[in-house]
Subunit: 226 residues, 2 copies
Amino acid sequence: MDQLLANIKIQVNDKIYVKDPETTTLGRKIIKHSLIMMDEIGFDNFTFKKLGELIGSNESSIYRYFENKHKLLVYLSSWYWSWIEYKMVFATANIVAPLDQLIKALELVTEKIEDDLNTPYINEALLNKIIIAEFTKTFLTKEVDEENKEGFFLIYKRVINRMVEMVIQIDPEYPYPKSLISSIVEGALHQHFLKDHFKTITDCNESTSPTNYYTHLIQRVLSPKI
Amino acid sequence: MDQLLANIKIQVNDKIYVKDPETTTLGRKIIKHSLIMMDEIGFDNFTFKKLGELIGSNESSIYRYFENKHKLLVYLSSWYWSWIEYKMVFATANIVAPLDQLIKALELVTEKIEDDLNTPYINEALLNKIIIAEFTKTFLTKEVDEENKEGFFLIYKRVINRMVEMVIQIDPEYPYPKSLISSIVEGALHQHFLKDHFKTITDCNESTSPTNYYTHLIQRVLSPKI
DNA sequence: TTAATATTGATAGTATTACTATTACATTTG
DNA sequence: CAAATGTAATAGTAATACTATCAATATTAA
């Protein structure tokens, strides 16, 4: 699986960028350092001018890759969910029992991520931190419906629907499979945030992870058919 | 309860504002019209200049009430959760069984809100829409830890902890009461958003509400002691 | 009632952001 | 080697996010 990833290009909707950043040195530099910078100062304080200074490139050169910083964040998010989807497909392919599949998939979307060394210019650990802190900002905008029509959130929704299928297999009678999964995927990011900033309203900490909480939850919520 | 609310002032941490907007005509105008405007154009496009034009006041006059638009959003959120807390305390006061209490509280935090006519310059239906679309932006910032220390999110956390207490009463053995409630409160807002924008990843719609989903969920997750 | 004080409005000004446009030069590719 | 593509530098615009000052008006306290 690790080696496979080295040869496969993560697919991102080409309407998100002006020019594919994966194809040039500057493009890859933009991605790599935008991760570092967004993690450090946050999306709100991040600007193309600052990024340009950091990588020793002109602001206008960055605009040749991304229309604006919002699109860059959408790109990073798409990349992230595409990478998660890829891992999910492989990690669950050999698992027969749907419940075990779901538990595995759950682990992938709720665990803290470590850097995947197969992607040299993307630090997944950083990207995961950015997703936790910034992902909701990609869709909490007035333009969400247009961008959704353009397919900006397709991969994210596909990841969720893959897990929904597992739920339906496990317990066809369960009435809210979509809401269950969408609230888990979003909720896991939120629990990671709480653990770092609002410790008094979460049980997650060093020893208990969002993965533990949600694994326990689905086992109580779903009634596997025998 | 309705009459009571008319006489009680919703308390908001006074570090959030420069000058209490509830005490003057202009202040109340700022609140009332910021709701209308934020609902219409969204928080990101909202500026004090535009608000000033709308209410026929100078931009600088608005800065006398709020340092910036972020603080205004924090104010509106605090007000919202304070109002929810108030309703929760009254609505659950006469209920004996903790499970019934929790179901009632759950209803309050997950249902779609209608305007409460006791607060003439706050339209709660609008405020609820703004909370759904913008609330996470109040804490997904680099300043969250400082602002948390200042007590900006106290009421929100108190609402959650009230419900956590109910969960502990219902099922003292349940290992994740805080994560359960924090993920429900946040998740309910998210489900409302999905129902309006990403219909393919939620079961919520005209006939099924987030309240239905979460009421069903807690009954499966919690095992009431007998 | 008058004087002091608080509130608001108007104007102006600054630094930063979020871009767009143009030109020139460098590098890669066919 | 010519064309296409990529990159850098400069300049410029409109909007944003404020801050400061001062005059006009409303409120309140002596």
